[in-house]
Subunit: 807 residues, 2 copies
């Protein structure tokens, strides 16, 4: 991903790509002559223009192409979108750029946020129609520009084949027309199509996780729908049955027509109306409860769980297939790269020179030392050449962060003896179990204190004006603990542990709360309220909690992306809800419905007393996007959702129920996926840790390599050509450090955090081997066709065709 970020010439690229060939190529990394080489003559395959290219420049292009292959492997971009000529290459580099990505993100966010200001707007954010319509037009123009850029890279043919982009184009067109219409008429019509706006966000580079979730949701849909049909089918059967059984009872409003019967049973699946729906018939005949018990047992306890099971199973299967295809895609990318770089003279591998060239394009921010270390880490056979077999582990090794192995045990090793002894004592103290358990004890006492304190409060002034002494005592203990730990372990070690970071921040917060109390700063009182969070520290105590919390943190990114996916659905439903239902709910609005009670605001007289009865449900409306989101969250939680549904239905039409039912089903899908995901991730982690009980503590992937002084000198030599001065200075410092200590080599440790992919690699170890064999068999069949593009390129470039051996 970093490939495109390196060059200072992205602005140049921008201009060049935008304005075609009008600017003459300056001193850009993509060599000015190289540009001609890459594909100026992409029509005339028979007339290579290679005569113009110097060798180094042609190699640079090869590195560039190889780096693009690696990037495609990483991003799971299909190889048929591989840029095939200079124009496409320039567009590719322009589009794959953090600036461009950010622009994409900003435009889509702007488009989404517009609904805050469009009528029905959030009161404080209301904008005039011509302002927000102009903003929208501007954003849409930017999107058009982005699309045009992508088309330049992909070419028309691929562009049309790509469904998502095609959909985006269509939505763009509709939005454009509508925005203009709004601007012309100076009034907003029913713009339900705004519900499609999230497609721009989904299409962003950064929304990869959301796209993946959506894909997974869509792939889980077919089995889901099958079981849903089963569910609906039983619902219909029971609705007919219920209608026959209960409609003779005039006191039963739930089954008096077939439609009501169906709606009641739909709501019953969500349990939202449970005992109530049964009560009229139950009070008439106790045996009628059997109908409801059987219905709930079948629908809620069996079919709903089956739904989860089916989705979970599909999810599992998809995850594995996805992992497999990603793995094989990366492998193919590595093969493509290898084929480009392994030279004819040395067909058995890639020499360091080429590897270094590749890395300069693939990861421009990487230092020369790290490049060499990566090469060395890959090169298991310790020969001059990197073989394909070793090169396959490229993606695992390239992410490592290299650091010199720490020779010191403690941070205070080099202090004078007395200080050393003191710090050593503190170190032993803070690492001792007694110390830890003392702290746990203090936290527990603190927790009980807070609980009792709060319990004694019973209303009255909640936060007293003077600072309670217990607060100061406990805070002092925590402060001392933090100080001791920092001095004992050294700041570096202290802050690398997530738990310590948590302790630290909680203590700092508590301190800020104390300040707020002491100086009577009302707006910061909420910090005082966070005191109970201290108690979370107790969860370090038990291993299972540590496991669970670790898993939780590993799940967080994915959870966040799932939450975002849910929000996207919320957004679409909010827009639709606002267009149709905004303003329909208000106090005493729904007097004709069965749920009138919940919307009532009235004075009731019972005997002689008058009571104000406030049904708050009119607050759950679609009057602006914030309210809609809260309402939709309430619908997601499902409880009492039918009150909102019936309220809206009584104010609009029967068809409004469809909106709510469809929303229920959609959130059910997403939530089921979330459950399946948590289940899958957790079970996977547990299985993994059961399989690898020895290596349990290992938190990340580490690799140790030794570099000899001679190798450092060689790197320095190579580096002189194109490294910056800082890097050279660092290398020199390292060599002189070696000299002064009389050592001949330096040990470096590469470290990175463990990803799901690493875990999967270990879990499916045996199967992976099978996949590889299967894959290479398939490739052997396609071999000739696959080789063609790079051969064509070579022919075009007039370069010697490089080796295509694969071992």
């Amino acid at each position: 991903m970093d490939i495109t970020n390196r060059s200072p010439n992205c602005v140049y690229n921008f201009l060049r790509v935008c304005f075609g060939g009008f600017i003459s190529s300056g001193a850009s990394r993509i060599p000015q002559d190289g540009e001609n080489c890459y594909g100026a003559s992409d029509v005339s395959l028979q007339s290579p223009t290679a005569g113009d290219c110097s060798l180094q420049q042609s190699w640079d292009i090869t590195y560039q192409e190889a780096a693009i292959y690696l990037q495609e492997g990483e991003n799971n971009d299909k190889f048929f979108t591989h840029p095939k000529n200079a124009k496409a290459l320039a567009a590719y580099l322009f589009v794959h750029n953090h600036l461009f990505y950010l622009m994409e993100l900003m435009t889509s966010l702007l488009l989404l946020l517009l609904s805050l200001c469009e009528a029905p707007a959030v009161p404080t954010l209301h904008l005039d129609i011509y302002v927000h319509a102009t903003l929208e037009l501007f954003a849409l123009v930017v999107v058009v520009f982005e699309l045009a850029m992508k088309m330049r890279w992909l070419g028309c043919h691929t562009f049309i084949r790509h469904k998502r982009t095609l959909g985006k184009t269509f939505v763009l067109l509709v939005q454009f027309i509508e925005a203009i219409v709004v601007l012309v008429r100076q009034t907003s019509h029913v713009r339900v199509t705004r519900a499609l706006r999230p497609i721009f966000l989904v299409d962003c580079h950064y929304s990869r996780a959301v796209r993946r979730n959506l894909r997974q949701i869509f792939q889980s849909l077919p089995p889901f729908i099958d079981i849903l049909l089963l569910l609906l089918f039983f619902m219909v059967i029971f609705a007919i049955l219920g209608f026959y059984l209960f409609s003779p009872n005039p006191a039963d409003p739930y089954f008096n027509t077939l439609e009501n019967s169906l709606v009641s049973l739909f709501v019953l699946v969500t349990t939202a109306n449970y005992p109530d729906v049964m009560m009229p018939s139950y009070s008439r005949n106790p045996w009628s409860c059997i109908f409801f018990i059987v219905y709930l047992s079948i629908e809620l306890y069996f079919i709903m769980n089956l739904l989860l099971a089916v989705v979970f199973d599909t999810f599992n299967d998809i995850e594995k297939k996805k992992f497999k295809s990603l793995l094989l895609h990366k492998r193919t990318a590595i093969q493509h790269t290898y084929r480009l770089l392994a030279s004819k003279q040395r067909p058995s591998g890639i020499p360091y020179r080429h590897f270094e060239g590749l890395m300069r394009f693939y990861k421009p921010r990487m230092s020369a030392k790290e490049r060499y270390l990566t090469f060395k880490a890959l090169n298991q056979s310790n020969t001059q050449l990197l073989r394909l077999k070793d090169f396959y582990s490229f993606y695992e090794v390239v992410g490592l962060k290299w650091k010199a192995r720490r020779s010191r045990e403690y941070w205070f090793d080099e202090l004078p003896h007395t200080a050393f002894l003191i710090f050593k004592g503190i170190n032993i103290l803070v690492k001792s179990r007694t110390f830890q358990y003392c702290i746990y004890l203090v936290v527990s006492v603190n927790g009980i204190w807070i609980l009792v304190d709060t319990f004694m409060l019973k209303g009255g002034s909640i936060i007293s004006q003077n600072v309670p002494w217990s607060y100061i005592v406990f805070l002092t203990i925590y402060g001392v603990e933090v100080l001791l730990k920092i001095t004992g372990l050294g700041p570096l070690e202290y802050f690398t542990s997530g738990w310590n970071l948590f302790d630290f921040s909680v203590t700092v917060f508590a301190f800020l709360g104390l300040m707020a109390l002491a100086f009577n700063m009302k707006p910061f009182y909420f910090i005082v309220v966070l005191r109970p969070l201290q108690l979370l520290r107790l969860f370090k105590l038990k291993k299972r909690y540590r496991n669970v919390l670790d898993t939780m943190f590993e799940l967080l990114p994915r959870m966040a992306s799932l939450g975002l996916t849910l929000l996207i659905f919320y957004y679409s439903f909010s827009i639709i809800g606002m267009e149709f239902f905004s303003g329909v709910l208000f106090p005493n609005c729904c007097n004709t419905s069965t749920v009138a009670e919940s919307y009532r605001w009235r004075n009731v007289t019972i005997g002689n007393t008058t009571i104000v009865e406030e049904g708050y449900y009119y607050l759950n409306n679609f009057d602006n996007i914030f309210n809609s989101f809260v309402t939709l969250f309430e619908l997601t939680v499902v409880n009492n959702w039918y009150i909102i549904m019936e309220g809206v239905t009584s104010q609009t039409s029967h068809w409004a129920r469809l909106y709510f039912m469809i929303f229920y089903i959609v959130t059910m899908v997403v939530l089921t996926i979330i459950v399946a995901f948590i289940l899958d991730a957790f079970v996977f982690h547990m299985n993994y840790s059961r399989k690898n009980q020895d290596a349990e503590d290992e938190k990340g992937i580490t690799l140790e390599k030794e570099i000899l002084k001679e190798e450092l000198l060689m790197i320095l030599e190579l580096c002189r050509r194109d490294c910056n001065t800082f890097e050279i200075a660092e290398l020199r410092k390292m060599i002189s450090h070696l000299d002064s200590n009389g050592q001949t080599s330096v040990h470096l440790v590469g470290r990175r955090s463990r990803t799901k992919s690493d875990l999967s690699m270990k879990m499916y170890q045996e199967e992976i081997q099978e996949w590889y064999e299967e894959h290479s068999q398939k490739q052997a069949e396609q071999h000739m066709e696959e080789l063609l593009p790079s051969r064509k390129l070579c022919q075009r470039l007039g370069l010697r065709p490089r080796s295509q051996t694969i071992n």
Copy 2:
């Protein structure tokens, strides 16, 4: 299991066991002298009394013991409860007997059903105190008798070590004392201990599945409780937070004290009070919704799912471990049996003579032919002797039902030509796709017809007095279809398919409904209402539904046992509920509580109109065991459960909430286990069918064996000694049939349905091998000790020690 059922002397055994040695031993299967052999001299190891035993009798004892080993292997009884002397053996045979099992079941059911009649009784079933107390005492005496019998078998030492039996004894004692107290005082005190009665049911032989579920629930508890603590912990933190944030709002009844805050948040985890609990604060400050959204996201959407994940993971693990231990237990049982039967002269295997003797005791109902076939099926090496390696698959083979292979293709093969052609035509017709789809079409039309018909009804008289013609038309079509299928496929083939059975019964029901309509029999009108069930036939159409329904049917027994387990919990909670809360709920009972509305039955005046407002919740009470069960089901469904809780709390004390909260947690555990079970079973099945895509259609385990005429003659020869005349006649018929057809052999097919164990065997194929190796290593260490008991026995019996070789 059948071993004990065979002998007509179980009554004799009963008397003999009950009255010790008072009756002189008659002509029982356990030979009168053999009884002495088995262990009369169990003290005097040095003085064998074998001189008294004839060889055949001593072998019979060996067969008996071997059969008991096999039975223990099957029932997962531990080997240390293996009967060690004649008294224990007699008690063992007495206790392992379907009559005894039934007695156990009946007593425990009687005890459970007593609560229908004890105050507070179901109105129509009320019994006087001395009647039900006497019944209870009677049942308890029977239980004492059963326990005494078990003690005779197990011996005092083992008896005390067995926790469940010990618990049962304790409960028995308490119940006894209480029943006597009730009888003496002639009034019932607060008998909460009745909640322990289900232990008698759980201890029944037939409740094995329930015991297994309970064990699984208890094993899943530790991780469950850990996560539950996490949940409660966050609840406490948020309760304190909520109290600080919302208690200044006087309109907010949910957070005005810390206790209310805690209860509100507990109920919120179940979502039962969701939008309501938020509304007062939300109407004051819209941002307060964040508190609730964060709380629900953490508790409901994360931790609750984590709970499921942890239970699912534990469940998975336990299932596998259970399967492993059962498998190894069976293997050990087979080894024990083999050791007893492999003779010294022929240490390499069991001759048929001994195998036959064993089977006579293990499965007395098995015919001589089946015994021989089982031997032949086991004997892979086709030698005279059955080797241990082959003997290991004993349990898989012994369940097969053997039938002569059908030589006929159709049932009408032997009819005259014309008839054959007609039936053949029908056969082809009913098997054709066109026919099937026509039927599906008819069913769909019927479904739409019913739907439209019901929709047009709109109240009025629901079931018209005259039979609608559409009903007759569709029923005729279904009738013709059933007849065609039966004639085309033959009744035997027709009724072996579950789907056909379903079709048949639905059609018969519809016909009965028609009769009911035609002859105007009101009580049977409900059958008419079942018409929509016809639509279920449509689910044959799609493969996934067939899969799902097949899985469902395979799950049913286990689901039923899980349901029963839930009912046992219901029972205990009902008793407690009835003891404390019976009679506290009635119309207008809870006017002081926040949920008074739901219990109200009053006339309200709004302006000039008077409305009767009926809150039905007073019906959800604990006034008798039926009502309690319905109330508990409503609590299980969770929605609005807090209305019942608050109602009861307002009438009793704050501590009543504990009952409801504990019940919620218990049902949560059981329901989570149910979900985990469905998930596990379903995913297992899917994985299995994915792994074995070829053998997908195979519905059961089949095995084919050929028996030569000579072998049949040999069986007949052996049989003359102790087979009944019917069996001999059958064998003769078979031989003569062979003679008349001029065949020299007959083919027989053994068939049984596939069990979960078979699937597991296939799934864990590789691991099983590892387990076996591990197991035999462990055994090799314990070898000498394990051999001791049987050696001792031999020494006692004065018989030649039999071979102990294991290959």
